[in-house]
Symmetry: C2
Subunit: 236 residues, 2 copies
């Protein structure tokens, strides 16, 4: 999970807000809620059996992570991205994650190496067995883990934020349900993290992310978003 701001979290018993936040973050990142989907406070308060106060806090936090977009007096929706804005998010992610992997390369402990390999295998298994949501999640966790072991908290935060953000973009614009990441690439990344020099690792990460970006498909407009709005209108 993203290390949301400077609010320290209790280790054992999570706060109500934390539970709501994590659950919503998960369904958004696993693409169970499409970009553009509305998140009204009352429904969420109902679903989670807490007051709107708690929901508001969770939504606010999600908005800071970039997962949710809050417009004053209107409410929260899962973040949508204009095609024109896509490149800057990928550029930001390349810079952050490139720096992170460079810091990690050549310094992996055997435990970390094994963890990473296990994650790639698991991701592979999920995708092969058709469990797309789980595979997607593991793929994101792979990138999250690299950020976590780089030993730079603010940069890891930034990296994870951009990983999540671009995943949302992929959810919006990538028609092939692969989630964008190729498992082969992830194997190669582990390899270069173990042996290769930092520069090479950074270069490979850049290529990996460029590859994801190049595979996006921009239809004339973000279809799903509008569809959702239309459906909601027609429902009454």
């Amino acid at each position: 999970m993203l290390q949301g701001g400077n609010v320290e979290k209790s280790k054992g018993s999570k706060s109500q807000e934390g539970i709501v936040y994590e659950r919503l973050f998960d369904v958004i990142i696993e693409q169970k809620l499409q970009p553009g989907a509305r998140l009204t406070e009352i429904s969420l308060a109902d679903i989670f059996s807490v007051s709107r106060t708690v929901i508001r806090r969770a939504l606010l936090r999600l908005s800071y992570e970039g997962a949710v977009d809050i417009k004053p007096n209107i409410g929260a929706i899962v973040t949508t991205t204009e095609p024109a804005d896509v490149p800057q998010y990928f550029e930001a992610r390349r810079i952050a994650e490139g720096a992170l992997i460079r810091m990690v390369a050549g310094k992996l402990t055997t435990f970390q190496e094994e963890t990473l390999n296990a994650m790639v295998r698991e991701e592979n298994r999920y995708f092969l067995s058709g469990n797309r949501a789980r595979g997607l999640r593991k793929s994101i966790d792979f990138h999250f883990y690299i950020a976590d072991i780089a030993n730079n908290k603010p940069l890891a935060e930034m990296g994870k934020k951009m990983i999540a953000r671009t995943s949302l973009i992929v959810a919006q614009y990538n028609l092939s349900g692969s989630g964008g990441c190729a498992c082969v690439d992830h194997s190669a990344l582990v390899d270069v993290m173990v042996h290769g020099p930092g520069d090479k690792a950074e270069r490979m990460m850049h290529e990996h992310l460029q590859h994801i970006e190049d595979n996006l498909y921009f239809g004339k407009q973000p279809i799903e978003t509008d569809l959702y709005r239309i459906l909601e209108v027609g429902r009454s």
Copy 2:
């Protein structure tokens, strides 16, 4: 100001929360509130003549920006930094701001060039006339402006966050009240942004920030913080 999260702000009439946020951000960044100073909701609600609800939102936002540290059931203080954590914040800032200035270098409009030069002059004037708070603020605005003109919103956000964060660190550990930035450096930065290649600009930014970091002084412990706690105890 930092572009806080995905909450769109109304241009003309600022929200109550926005006013509180900006005011608090200003006094923190201008070092009128020392790191470690407590920010209780009731006092702030009193001062700003709004309810605690509004204050809570503003504090929460400040915590996401890293300017304030909120501990559950305890409250908010101006962020303090352990000496051991200082390097990662500067490293993160170097990466973000280095990338930003590289994107800007050689692409300045004449208006932007003049704006930057004017900012350096103004900063200089404030420091020479002994107005430290204003000079400090202008120095930070100089860095903010570079972030803003780089045309990459998420990276600019990250850059500004780290600029603010490291400024807080300087407030805590730099005894000379200069705020860390030398005006000479800023002039040179403008110069390389106008002419120089991106790589050189990035290198100069790195050196500039390294210079600030090297000038920090770590006493045995963060003196001011503890003093504040002690004073508060002895006050009753």
